[in-house]
Amino acid sequence: MPSLRWPDGSTTRALLVAALVALAGCRSADRGATSAVKLDGGVPVGAVLALTGNANVYGQDQKVGLNLAQQEINGAGGIAGRPLKLSIEDGGSDEAGANAAMTLQINRGVLAVVGPTLSQQAFSADPIAQRRGMPVVGPSNTATGIPEIGSFISRVSAQSSEIAPLSIGMALKLQPNLKRAAVFYAQDDAYGTAETVIFQKALAEKGLKPVTVQRTQINDLDFQNQITAALNLKPDLVVLSLQAVDGGNLIRQLRELGYRGLIVVGNGMNTPNIYPICQRHCDGILIAQAYSPELATPANQAFIKRFQASQGGAIPPQLTAQAYTALQVIAEALQRLEKRQPLAGADLGQTRRSLMQEILGGTYQTPLGEIRFTPEGEVIQKQFYVARVKMNPTGNGGRFELLP
């Protein structure tokens, strides 16, 4: 049986030396902030996206948007003649992954970060960025409280309280006799818990107090218990605040178990990647959106043209448009900053602070329409929409059909 013995003298000395060497090798947490901006290969901007895990259905859309924006920006001359160098890190679908990816981007010396994908991840990773003085532009974080994390945090995705109630209003417009609503939300997801409060408040304001509120978990796949409990109460409206994968599964099981009423979903299902999951059962679901492919502005038309050229004529989804917008905002702010103070060799920490001020101070013509920011980093966007999913007869594909 092994015994626990204190190491002898020579071993102790070796351990102490090893520890000292390890400590000496540790990078200072602020080392990134005191070094100079490096422009080798281009102006460095980073992204933290959910490319793996359940949220990868969003990250894949966002990656397309970022790549398109990079092509557009560099095709127009980049940042004062230098190309924009985009590095995308996979933040996975959990907080630990986002934290690691954010830290990597900060240490890499990028000037700003787009991401992370999920609000849940933002609450964990954005404080790291805030402490390290890294400007962050959230492309898809809609939970309440994101810009309030700190002065370096902003977002181009309007929060749920602005958008979600529109879909409840549309449901009542389509079926004025709605009386009984069943609400489902993921209780371990910051986005879901924030949005369901907004949905329930909107329901109450319209005289539709929920007959049941069912709680799920992000990684749940089998909702038989919750669905049968809800269906026993005979709802005529179901409201979901879930991510795409669990939400798509729930809708499929809901329809298979016989529910035929209206379904309203939140921003978590705002992606065509729900089609393979709920297939023909996706048909008819209502969702409020911050982006319309039908917005007839030059910025949106240029974005759609570029998207369709690369994606075989498909309609761009909201997440792609928002990611594109996020990078566009950073690029335009960098261009204005470069005119005021050349980036090459400038102090990195000071450059990031100045960039954040430029981001918040600008007005941008984007695929989302004209947007600005409040001093706290919250996006100010003028127009929102409600769409209904229309599936192909085969159930293999569909589109978001905007409702008047």
Binding site: L51, T52, G53, N54, N56, V57, Q60, Q187, D188, T212, V213, Q214, R215, T216, Q217, N219, L221, D222, Q224, N225, Q226, T228, A229, A230, L231, N232, V245, G248, N249, R252, Q253, E256, L257, G258, N273, P276, I277, Q279, R280, G395
Partner: protein
């Protein structure tokens, strides 16, 4: 009454999946005395094999982007073939992660770690080849069977009834094979004492490989059925089932086949009894039940008490 029946069906359908999954763990544990942490990865592989054999196309994010069989197979054929494919993979895992350590008579903990590593490698390989996106098996894979059945006032999805029936069939066939066939009795002998079994002329190594093959087949079968029921959410979708099934394995009694089945059904029912509004806490309820049971009966429901001789 309708509500009780609904709860019963809900619980049994979930429990059947846990039971089928835990049977794979049980088989390996009964023979080698270690838990095969790669079992969840093989379960996941079963779902992906079934999807591909049904004619599904690989999405745009994997190395095999766009790959697709020219013609999809009927569901039951695809399911069995997926099971056989997983059986082969499982035998391969035994050769890589368990066999070398067993021959050196290494500590069982090391096999547990290598199986964990093998599982991670397998899952990452799936991700590289197939991408991280979700896949859904084609609707209508069960042919003309209705999507939902109404049984005594309770509503249940047909695929869940299929899962329950397949689980029951597997348990019956497995039990008969273990109890009545030469191969099954030889496997039991190896499980009891591999060295003595060898001395009696039983090829212990072959029996162990057979055990892994059967375990892999069960994982593939359950993965394909669950993939049809709930869609394939990504390469890691077997992990959650793996954790629940570990609890089931322990509750039923390590190495007990009927114990794994009984425990699976009990855990499924325990989760179904949690009120709908609180079903987000069902995992806590199930594991609290397990914890309480083990305090009363440490060897599990049908496990054998360990007798220490002094």
């Amino acid at each position: 009454m309708d509500n009780l029946l609904q709860i019963l069906f809900n619980g049994l359908s979930v429990g059947a999946v846990y039971a089928l999954f835990a049977l794979g763990y049980t088989l390996v544990f009964s023979v080698l005395g270690v838990i095969n942490f790669a079992h969840g990865a093989v379960f996941t592989l079963g779902a992906y094999f079934t999807y591909l054999l049904l004619g599904g196309a690989v999405g745009s994010n994997g190395l095999l982007a766009g790959a697709q069989l020219p013609e999809g197979l009927p569901f039951w054929v695809a399911l069995v073939l997926a099971g056989l494919g997983c059986a082969l993979v499982s035998v391969g895992l035994e050769a890589v992660a368990f066999g070398p350590l067993r021959r050196r008579q290494a500590e069982p903990l090391l096999s547990l770690i290598t199986s964990l590593g093998a599982g991670v490698v397998l899952v990452n390989l799936i991700q590289i080849l197939m991408g991280a996106e979700g896949y859904a098996l084609p609707a209508g894979s069960l042919g003309q069977l209705p999507v939902t059945l109404e049984l005594g006032g309770a509503r249940v999805r047909t695929i869940q009834v299929v899962l329950m029936l397949v689980s029951a069939l597997v348990v019956v066939v497995l039990t008969l094979w273990l109890e009545r066939s030469r191969g099954g009795k030889a496997l039991q002998a190896v499980a009891e004492d591999a060295t003595t079994a060898r001395l009696l002329g039983i090829d212990s190594d072959a029996m162990i490989q057979l055990c892994f093959a059967v375990s892999g087949f069960l994982a593939g079968l359950s993965g394909g059925l669950v993939g049809l029921s709930l869609s394939i959410t990504g390469p890691y979708f077997g992990i959650g089932y793996g954790l629940e099934a570990l609890g089931v394995l322990v509750l039923g009694g390590l190495g007990s086949v009927p114990g794994a089945v009984l425990a699976g059904l009990i855990v499924g029912l325990a989760e179904a009894l949690v009120p709908g509004e609180w079903s987000g806490y069902k995992d806590a309820v199930a594991f609290a039940f397990l914890f309480g049971m083990l305090l009363l009966r440490p060897q599990g429901l049908l496990g054998r008490a360990v007798v220490t001789k002094v």
